[in-house]
Subunit: 219 residues, 2 copies
């Protein structure tokens, strides 16, 4: 019988994956974290993830998939590309890294399998996002099947945030007792500023709008 009591969380130290870490700690007896580095301009992101994992005694593994950035030019890894601040009409912002979630989740599954873990948790969401195709539920379900066929195994990909908008992600963090930690220690900002961030980039705007909305509802 496969060990259903453990899970591997794809963990970046951002709002979403930190909320997922709290979610997984509630749901599984044993939680581990895997973090991907791919030439992000801000390596502080990785250090923040490592520190949060350490504080909760969660085993933390860092994987270098920088090949991804070399293959697919995008504004998160190439400082010669000016980042889109708004979503272009009928297209994705140039923060889109083609194939990113597919590469991350495939490597996550390989790592998980080597540890005898078959639950994988990812913070992707199709609500309130920039329309990245690899955040959609249909993609994740198809990927789940493909992974199982590739390795003749029975992974289950969990996406606790899939249909939550940002305010509902804040609500979930609050319900799990992680609101303060998520607010003060995570990094979501594309310009690499933790907590409330630069306030200008697309990620900061979504984060703040969601927070304000949840605070209004909460009070």
């Amino acid at each position: 019988m496969k060990d259903q009591k453990s899970a591997l969380v794809c963990f970046s130290g951002g709002q979403d994956s930190t909320t997922c870490l709290f979610w997984a700690k509630e749901k599984f007896e044993k939680v581990e974290a895997v973090c991907f580095t791919y030439g992000q301009k801000h390596s502080l992101e990785v250090e923040i993830a490592r520190k949060i994992a350490a504080d909760y005694r969660i085993p933390f593994q860092l994987l270098d998939v920088s090949l991804l950035a070399q293959l697919a030019p995008n504004s998160l890894t190439d400082s010669s590309i000016v980042m889109d601040k708004e979503q272009p009409d009928g297209s994705y912002p140039n923060t889109f890294v083609p194939g990113r979630n597919m590469v991350f989740l495939t490597f996550a599954a390989i790592v998980a399998r080597s540890k005898g873990i078959y639950n994988i948790v990812t913070g992707v969401s199709q609500a309130d996002y920039s329309g990245y195709p690899d955040c959609r539920d249909t993609f994740i379900r198809s990927l789940n099947v493909t992974l199982n066929l590739a390795m003749d195994d029975h992974f289950v990909i969990h996406t606790p945030l899939m249909n939550r908008d940002k305010s509902e992600v804040w609500q979930l963090a609050d319900e799990l007792g992680g609101l303060d930690l998520v607010r003060t220690r995570t990094l979501t900002c594309y310009n690499g500023i933790p907590a409330d961030g630069c306030g200008e980039c697309l990620a900061c705007k979504l984060r703040k709008e969601g927070f304000d909305k949840y605070m209004q509802k909460r009070n």
Copy 2:
């Protein structure tokens, strides 16, 4: 309209992918090759691939996915593991690298997309193989859908060898005018010996049995 006249071949310099290269040259106006290095014990493999591509003026790109070997111990990359010479009952030989074809084809799609190529050719086969799950047609079809969902695109994965046993792969190479080249210049042997190889490993045995069978049929 997407360019349907070009294809990217996953090319390792072995019998199968070299036959696929001949097949693609016949079928598409423009062919490019992508080769993966992942800590194979025998890097001669890469040099053979590079040389064959150069001789046919096929653009050749090498991608380093050595992360794969670090994550998933196997006898192809870890010389402390003694290679299975026969297929173990009810299991895969320890030459199986979990997730390998999924990682290769995902990166191949990212490379292809960046070049405006949407046809991807791979030499996987479910006939005559060691039962690797990621060589099966069902896996490839599922992967094709997942890739298209991941990148919101329309890749087509071609698998000209899918249902051919080794003798039929030799036959295809012959029909495409590549029999001599495949016989004398490719490397399939797990022990890194080109052409007829060591004659002892599983790959050499399959290659030779197929060749003998095809020669009997041909003469």
